[in-house]
């Protein structure tokens, strides 16, 4: 086990280096003179020259890359061209926004997805099974930005139940400590804001949860169906155990393993998918931060934003892989 974890960590090194290289190449791959592109057509030659030096584009590429690597590993993610603030400082509130949304969405997706999958398998070929699986198929095919817009239209405009945009009630906000507003509002003892934050989370959370929910439901169903056919389940049933316990205690334990991998993979995907949800709901998350940066051609922000999200993505997958080996001791790693 220990060897496996070490091996997995070692394998991560080339991937992380490769990631930094791809992200590093973003500015360098801009067709033409990047400094010119960033500053626009009206820029003076002096300004272009200054920008070239600022971005280090006047040095050979390998020198630039090593400087970039060194900076990145020491936590220096560059400086935003628009706000002139260090990206590493600016980033956290946005990242926290995305994490809060993604975690909330994942909780919805896991609870509903797994249960829908279990019940579908339990009641195979029933109307519940058919409805759930058709919904899951539609869910996988759903453009989340459309679902988000529809949600806004239905539940904010037609039936004004939930707020359309933002993360919290802007009047009288809570002082941000962790920037995870649910936690911040609890720290401040402000239950009114806590409820507000929760209400703001519902629509974007559901929009973001739809695809993983559908995928988790389908995976759980097929995994459960496979397990339900095994001998030990038949034995448990023959012993006269209640079906509920057979399904939720015995079958689920073995069926959950492949589902966990999917959950891990989807959690990473959520961070990427959040960019669309955040755009619709004006959610100040990292996706929106990157998206706005594209509009301003703020390449250091684009680079670092993408790098941070990709880093989280890789880490989540690593954690899932390691967890996997704990949960299922049958799996052997060479």
């Amino acid at each position: 086990m220990f060897n496996y974890i070490v091996k997995r960590l070692l394998q991560l090194i080339p991937v992380l280096l490769g990631m930094t290289f791809i992200v590093f190449m973003i500015i360098r791959a801009i067709p033409g003179n990047p400094a010119q592109v960033i500053l626009g057509q009206q820029a003076t030659p002096e300004a272009i020259e200054a920008m070239t030096v600022k971005l280090g584009l006047d040095k050979p590429w390998y020198t630039q890359y090593f400087v970039y690597l060194k900076d990145t590993f020491t936590g220096d993610l560059g400086e935003s061209l628009r706000t002139r603030a260090p990206v590493a400082e600016e980033l956290w509130p946005y990242l926290a926004g995305t994490l809060e949304l993604a975690i909330f969405a994942m909780i919805i997706a896991v609870i509903i997805g797994i249960n829908a999958g279990i019940i579908s398998a339990w009641l195979q070929n029933s109307w519940f099974d058919y409805t759930a699986m058709i919904l899951a198929l539609v869910g996988v095919s759903m453009p989340i930005f459309w679902l988000g817009l529809m949600g806004q239209w239905a539940f904010s405009i037609e039936i004004p139940l939930l707020p359309t945009t933002g993360r919290e009630a802007t009047r009288d906000p809570v002082t941000a400590v962790t920037h995870l507003y649910l936690i911040d509002s609890l720290i401040a003892g402000r239950f009114d804001q806590f409820i507000q934050v929760l209400r703001h989370l519902i629509l974007p959370g559901i929009a973001l949860a739809t695809i993983p929910m559908a995928i988790i439901a389908r995976m759980t169903r097929s995994s459960m169906l496979e397990v339900m056919r095994s001998d030990y389940i038949r034995t448990a049933r023959a012993k006269g155990q209640k079906m509920f316990w057979v399904v939720y205690k015995h079958a689920l334990k073995n069926a959950i393993i492949p589902v966990l991998t999917i959950i891990g993979l989807q959690s990473g995907m959520l961070l990427g998918g959040a960019i669309l949800t955040e755009t619709i709901f004006a959610w100040p998350g990292i996706g929106r931060y990157i998206y706005d940066a594209i509009g301003y051609r703020d390449y250091p922000v684009i680079q670092s934003g993408i790098l941070v999200v990709a880093f989280f993505f890789v880490m989540i997958n690593l954690i899932v892989d390691i967890l996997y080996s704990f949960i299922d001791p049958r799996i052997k790693y060479d």
């Binding site: 991937v15 801009i30 198929l137 459309w146 960019i275 999200v309």
Partner: protein
Amino acid sequence: MSKPAEEAEHTATNQEVHSISPWREAWREFRKNKIAVVGLLIVLFFILLAIFATFITKEGINDQVMTDRIQPPSKEYWLGTDDFGRDIFSRIIHGAKISLWVGFSSVIGSIIVGSLLGIIAGYYGKWVDTIISRFFDIMLAFPSILLAIAIVAVLGPSLRNALIAIAIINVPNFGRLIRSKVLSIKEDEYIMAAKGIGMRDSRILFSHILPNSMAPVIVQGTLAIATAILEAAALGFLGLGAQAPTPEWGKMLADSKDFIQTAPWTMIFPGLAIMLTVLGFNLMGDGLRDAMDPKMKN
């Protein structure tokens, strides 16, 4: 019937069974799956819409009737009009052309590049394999939509660049698939035999290994078209794909954002079109997987 005649007939039936090509067998399996056939019909419906778009619609995609701005669905405008007085029905039908074009061509692009890299990695092994496989790992380390956004941020927003970005992000999926297929086929006896009689590598690769790796690629390709259409719409929605006044579905949705309150139909129908097309490809892909490659099922 005499015994030898019976035997002969038995052998003949057996031969007949064996002579059915794997493609025909897959089609037979596919036809049995009603949901998959529904998927195929949805896809065919949109393909026909795309082909006959100009005959079906009476209004041009960019014809503006300013007196008929933001009209709800009616006899004259089946799906209503947008804020420029353009007929949404016409734009959606023409949008099918764009979405299908992006879906098919980006996936074909990824299949070509991915197959080439996958074949080289799988067949030659050693350091070539290490480099290519690591490259795939690194690309897969990015959430795909984010990588697409990064590529478009570099190349500049346009439909063509969105197509290129979508093609690039799908390369590792096909590359890995083909690589693993090549690795298993490489050890098959008929490949050993081909090598034994001195057949050139390129001929073994392209005449034997590639055709025998096609089934999973077709399955994966169909599902990838669904994702590609979604991704193109997402990029269009973010303003990084098709630009105005192209009637791309994602772009149409983005334009409808400001009219949710007053004209929800400008938002409902383009989204529905995206969902149906993607659903069609997903259903068809699932059916193809069950028919052609049951082992891939989950």
